[in-house]
Symmetry: C2
Subunit: 373 residues, 2 copies
């Protein structure tokens, strides 16, 4: 892996991430394809929208289709017919949130599958092996995620345990060319964030991810953590903010030095008829759109806005036609990917400060919270 | 409308149907888009598969989105962004099968909506007006459909009532260029089929449809009715067999003079993981496909078979990813549309008898019943 920041503006950077399956221009948004498919969309459609990298998930892919199938296809790329980069989440977040936890020790986490109750033990070594079998371009270390709010002691313990798990993760011989990112934790406690960052950097991983944010805490808390970390993040490494966020979150995080993002908001909102626009999330089920011949957003060049009216989209959601979900997904992913292109263009042309100043105000009005319909 | 049979082989015909929104090559299969969308597929995809005409439904579109919306878009073509021909079913079948019937008289049918219990009266005049508002290229007369098996008296009464309703339907001033097809009924009683056909032809409609078949009766009964009608169908009119059928049904019906078909089997089976192949319906959920790297059907040029393996498709259905339904729909519609192209090619090159003889045996083995997974 090679990461080259090409332009900077304050903490914000425009960069180029070279991975085994291709180049990713940063700041980048990564559509979420948890189970080997980005909800409703085909790989061809994702490419047409401009996606350069997508996410897979070690926990989910381990349960289904399982390692035997992934091995038969020499990894997820061949299995799902996606030839561009893939980043895999380690499964840590899922083990601690989806499964029924039986026991967590320094060894690893014993949990019951959320599907059929089978008992598994997830360890740093298993997570590394799964991500090798998946063949992702970027693997994430396996960390302990504690629910927030929590005691300072619990957060500190998870920071320390995650460090030791990260060390074990990195002892597993890695796939040739596969990059590994460490994960910064520490909740909203700034000193623990500092301590965790020192530990994460000590792992000598290829990138730094910031985890445990956008999990329900106020916007200002997330910004406080990012403000705290921004001057401490090594410029030579890519910075990935996990599971974030709204367009506003993304803009503010880019301004604080973040290079990579993933979030289920575009696909999840699509399922419920929520369309991202410059003026905020539009709920297409609203009766006001019944006869509306206009597109979701005037001037949008996405496959949905070019061909279909608000009235037709409302009808599709009203009668539960799957084409509605598909068109909403295409629009929302296009919105996010276009927004990243816009950010990159302003960083390249040194107009980011002006762009940021105006957009920051507009997006605060359009996306005041974690928007979901 | 202009219909020109260009080649014949026994009762089978190759023809050209010219409609306001374009030409349809017959024998033709029409994908079903009941509610203004062919399940999961976009108009662009349907065109790429080779669909020249699709179906809409007066009953469903009257309830949702309703006439006000359709008027605002000057019809269904503009509303759903489909610029090729559309045929609309009159709503007769749905009024008598989906709604809760309150009263049927010579005037029409009073029923409660299957959606919200609202009471409506469907009459031949209303059905004609709805289909005008939809702006379909071909409208179907409103007929009475009786459940089968039924008494001879009930079937006879429905034949006579449908005739009178057909007369009233045709008194409504029609949309410029819109064709209207009459519907032959009579269950499995051959003399009533004859009587109904005489009445249908007396309406001087632009085409003859055969209704009330493929509703659960044995394959041989349908063939007996088609054998009976084949020599009586005027060669100058297009012949449409409503709601039929399996690939075998279609081949046998073409051989008995049928030019047009519609059926939900390709889209309905797609929803359940059923893929049409030359060897019969393949249920992708079967464990045997777990590691299968091959396509659904070797040599198939559809967007699903070109890019995806059986193992991946099985996984998509297993984890309920909508992409699986989409790919199954594309494959199944491609299978039907390619089959029609194959039939037309053999009619053009005068090789239909040989093709029919071999294919008839193969499809009898592959599709012995009304195949559904």
């Amino acid at each position: 892996m090679r990461f080259t920041p090409t332009h900077t503006s304050g903490f914000a950077r425009r960069g180029r991430l070279e991975l085994p399956h291709g180049v990713v221009d940063t700041p980048a948004f990564m559509p979420v394809g948890t189970l080997g498919a980005v909800k409703t969309a085909s790989p061809e459609e994702l490419k047409a929208l401009g996606a350069q990298i997508i996410l897979g998930n070690a926990y989910h892919l381990y349960l289904r289709p399982g390692l035997e199938v992934l091995k038969a296809f020499e990894g997820l790329h061949g299995f799902m017919n996606w030839d561009r980069p893939i980043l895999t989440d380690s499964g840590g977040f899922q083990v601690f949130s989806l499964g029924k936890l039986k026991k967590v020790s320094d060894d690893g986490a014993v949990f019951q599958s959320h599907l059929n109750g089978d008992t598994f033990e997830f360890t740093p070594e298993l997570s590394a092996q799964i991500q090798q079998t998946i063949g992702s371009d970027i693997a994430m270390v396996f960390d302990e995620c504690v629910a927030l709010p929590n005691t300072r002691e619990a957060v500190l313990r998870s920071v320390e345990r995650s460090y030791h798990w990260g060390q074990r993760f990195l002892t597993v011989s890695r796939l040739p060319g596969q990059a590994i990112f460490g994960i910064n934790q520490g909740g909203c406690e700034l000193d623990l964030r500092t301590q965790s960052l020192e530990m994460t950097l000590d792992l000598k991983a290829d990138g730094v991810a910031i985890g445990g944010l956008s999990v329900g805490e106020p916007f200002e808390h997330m910004m406080r953590v990012l403000d705290h970390l921004a001057p401490k993040l090594p410029a030579s490494l890519p910075h990935y903010l996990m599971g974030v966020g709204t367009p506003r979150d993304i803009l503010e995080a880019v301004n604080r030095g973040i290079d990579m993002f993933d979030c289920v908001l575009p696909t999840r909102n699509a399922r419920n008829g929520g369309f991202f626009t410059e003026l905020g999330l539009l709920n297409i089920r609203n009766t006001v759109f019944k006869n509306d011949r206009g597109p979701i957003e005037e001037g949008c060049e996405c496959p949905c806005c070019r061909h279909y009216s608000r009235a037709y989209l409302r009808h599709l959601f009203n009668v539960k036609e799957i084409l509605g979900l598909r068109l909403a997904t295409l629009h929302n992913l296009y919105y996010y990917l276009r927004f990243m292109r816009e950010i990159r263009a302003h960083l390249e042309s040194n107009t980011f400060p002006d762009f940021y100043a105006k957009k920051s105000v507009a997006l605060k009005a359009a996306y005041p919270g974690r928007e979901e319909v």
